[in-house]
Assembly symmetry: C2
Homo-oligomer: 237 residues x 2
DNA sequence: GGGTTTTTGTGATCCTGATCACAGAGGGAT
DNA sequence: ATCCCTCTGTGATCAGGATCACAAAAACCC
């Protein structure tokens, strides 16, 4: 059976093995079964909004396939992307747990699939299964560390070039260690700018500058990192 | 009985009533009693380090009196202050829960008192008392929101003036609503700079500039906010 | 394939804060 | 008082990006 957008439907994506540290993996059977009862699965096209900053938290989404960008905007239209979520990530957890409005907007940037669990069902479930509550606490502290890394990046570096170099290195690490390391560039310059807190033009210029200096090189949509050492130098300048 | 530094010893500061939403308040008697058994209390002078960025997490500190600054530094000596912790705050929680190194350094900026609970004892306690684990999850999501606010501040505003105005307004709100609102300035310009991500000089200049424009005014160590509206305008410029 | 929209490249200008460099002010100690 | 050390104020300089303004290129859609 084929889902739209060329994705395979995962009939039990809560238990998907893609991330060992996954929130809802390796739970007691009773818990897994209960989870399967309270979750509902849906498929989302590109640009679908899972939830929007400021909304009351309806529940959590467990991303099974596709990618989503989490962003927040100021009243004047400035936007920061705080995270690119990947399969296995749990979205909206802290809002659901603390019953505050969603603090970010989650928008699919690649078509995908997610499980949804309502807030009530989740809290009920957590009260029944104390062990899982600890898991949730761990997941929240992971979220916290991610946010915290963002602060370090935005606060401890002043130059966009530094942040951009850091971002590229981060991506190439996450993508595994090819040699030479390479990264598939799926985001627009605008989006990259919103991650590293600068303008689209600056990202364009940095990219050409990096190419000119032979730090990176394009092969289709893939960015090959030619001079990793030089990029690393820029980061701890 | 008087403690050093003119502080009253709180003989059971875990249950201190200062913050209703306090992590360890309003728990079942059994839990409170167990907590009292596993905690240990100590008094800290100004400049004492509760823990340092990168150390393995020994446990959590519940701040009972005094203030502490949480900060992180880059290899080149640049520093960001992520939070000024106040009585009732739990420090080192996410590190302890997730068993990662402390992500920040906690240094007392006012003498005070804190309870310490070792990581092992805490985890043990949480496994016994599932309800409290949920509380911990809530506290962690509070931490997350705080970090997240930091990202918004650093990422969505470009001008130090904007961030400084925002900081002052935040402080005046936290201090309750005097009229005119006023704030006790306990931090050095350097420290303020490390909060809003700028330099000491810029903070000095901004302060004089705000005085010149009659936005604020000094009364000893207290900063009186003369023109709140104007500051608010700067924030959503 | 043509027309439309989104994305990217690049020049010119301008301005804010970072940086460097001192001098003065305050605050403890002895 | 005196010394010392940490803070604060302010000037001068300078560079790196933000901003504005187009044009080219690519992606997208009937």
């Amino acid at each position: 059976m084929r889902a739209p957008y060329g994705l395979d439907i995962l009939d039990n994506c809560l238990a998907c093995p893609m991330r060992e540290e996954h929130l809802f993996c390796h739970l007691p059977d009773a818990a897994v079964q209960r989870l399967n009862e309270i979750k509902s699965t849906a498929v989302y096209p590109k640009s679908a909004m899972l939830f929007i900053e400021g909304q009351q938290p309806r529940g959590v989404f467990v991303l099974c396939a596709g990618k989503a960008k989490l962003s927040t905007s100021s009243s004047e239209g400035r936007t920061v992307i705080t995270k690119i979520a990947e399969p296995g990530d749990v979205l909206g957890l802290s809002a659901a747990i603390s019953n505050r409005p969603y603090e970010v907007t989650a928008e699919m940037i690649e078509p995908g699939q997610a499980n949804f669990i309502t807030r009530d069902a989740l809290l009920h479930f957590l009260r029944e299964h104390g062990v899982v509550a600890l898991r949730v606490a761990e997941e929240l502290s992971r979220n916290y560390y991610t946010a915290y890394e963002g602060i370090r990046t935005l606060g401890l570096t002043n130059s966009p070039s530094e942040r951009f170099a850091k971002l590229l290195l981060g991506w190439s690490n996450a993508a595994g260690n090819g040699d030479p390391p390479q990264v598939k560039l799926t985001l627009t310059h605008e989006e990259i700018a919103e991650i590293i807190g600068t303008t689209r033009e600056t990202v364009s210029r940095l990219l050409s500058q990096f190419k000119r200096k032979q730090l990176v090189q394009f092969k289709g949509a893939n960015l090959i990192i030619r001079n990793k050492a030089a990029l690393e130098d820029m980061v701890n300048s």
